[in-house]
Symmetry: C2
Subunit: 206 residues, 2 copies
């Protein structure tokens, strides 16, 4: 049961996925990527595409899932392996920007489809971002001992700022990139301090 058949199928499936990702760039979004272009790049006939995906939409959703997963794992490991010397905020931001730097097209996919034309895509990206928020809110609640809803609102803000500055990072020059990282860290600190002060005000006993 080597499954030569299934193995080969898996291989071209991956080829299609890679082809799609490789074609993404600043000038080309998934939305205006055609089935035929993907097939060409993957080295298969246009019609063979249908053996693996019903649609370009189905392929897109697969990509979003995969990219979201990658990013989530990365951030999770960043939170785990941060040493107590450097702040968790700094580590997270640097990790995130590193990801953006090294996978610009992956990130662009999430960024663009977040406000894209297909409801399914928007929801899929929203789901990924939601994972982020929940995980971070959870972390804040237990580590910073914040009330649940303060943690949630703060987490939302942190994710929004980071994700968005990641978008700016894409088009930035070397100098601006450095400043962007610093500014992001500062902004996250503003939020963290503001939230902490707010929580204290509400419950001074803590």
């Amino acid at each position: 049961m080597a499954g030569i058949r299934a193995q080969q199928k898996q291989k071209t499936r991956q080829a299609i996925i890679d082809a799609a990702l490789n074609q993404l760039s600043a000038e080309q979004s998934f939305a205006n990527l055609s089935l035929r272009e993907v097939a060409r790049e993957a080295g298969i006939a246009p019609t063979s595409f249908y053996r693996h995906f019903k649609d370009m939409e189905e392929l897109g959703l697969t990509l979003v899932d995969e990219c979201g997963l990658t990013l989530r794992q990365l951030m999770r490991s960043a939170r785990k392996r941060f040493d107590s010397q450097t702040s968790i905020i700094k580590v997270s931001v640097e990790t995130f920007m590193e990801f953006v730097e090294q996978n610009p097209n992956t990130f662009r996919l999430l960024l663009r489809e977040r406000s894209g034309t297909s409801r399914a895509f928007r929801e899929a990206v929203a789901r990924e971002v939601e994972f982020f928020r929940l995980e971070l809110a959870d972390y804040l609640e237990t580590e910073s001992k914040l009330p649940t809803d303060v943690a949630r609102i703060q987490a939302d803000a942190l994710v929004t700022i980071t994700f968005n500055n990641g978008a700016e990072y894409l088009d930035a020059g070397e100098h601006k990139k450095r400043r962007l990282i610093e500014d992001t860290i500062t902004q996250l600190r503003f939020i963290a301090n503001g939230a902490a002060a707010f929580a204290k005000e509400e419950d001074p006993t803590d």
Copy 2:
């Protein structure tokens, strides 16, 4: 010199612009709007389009400019007419969300082309957002008496949060919309307080 000619030309030019804006929706972005579709909606022959715009790109840039201008004027007037009873933050957020509610397609245009495929578009939107930031930073510097760079960093964060939550507002239901406004206000307060605390720390004499 009634200029019947020029008058008529201006009229169809506006018809084209309106046609384009009317076709925008959650399911249709400017990027996948074709010249022919716009012409059809505007009630002119496809080729007549060229009498007014060199390109779809040129039309798009015009739209971005126009939309940005509208939004900017709105926010500026909001800042001016806020009565001292309600906080400037609350007024600004409510004004912004009202704009998003009433001009969803206009806002969608800015939102999407911000991370779009055309460099010219991205830069145009970035320019509009930059106006926002600068005006707000200026306001913060004079009103809250913050150091220039703290004001800038804070303004960036405020704009990012507001703009982004506006995007979520688009797809939100009635209940979520109300919560979104509240959360946005809270988040902006976090930032404002965090920034103020930071500034005080740096320069306790103030």
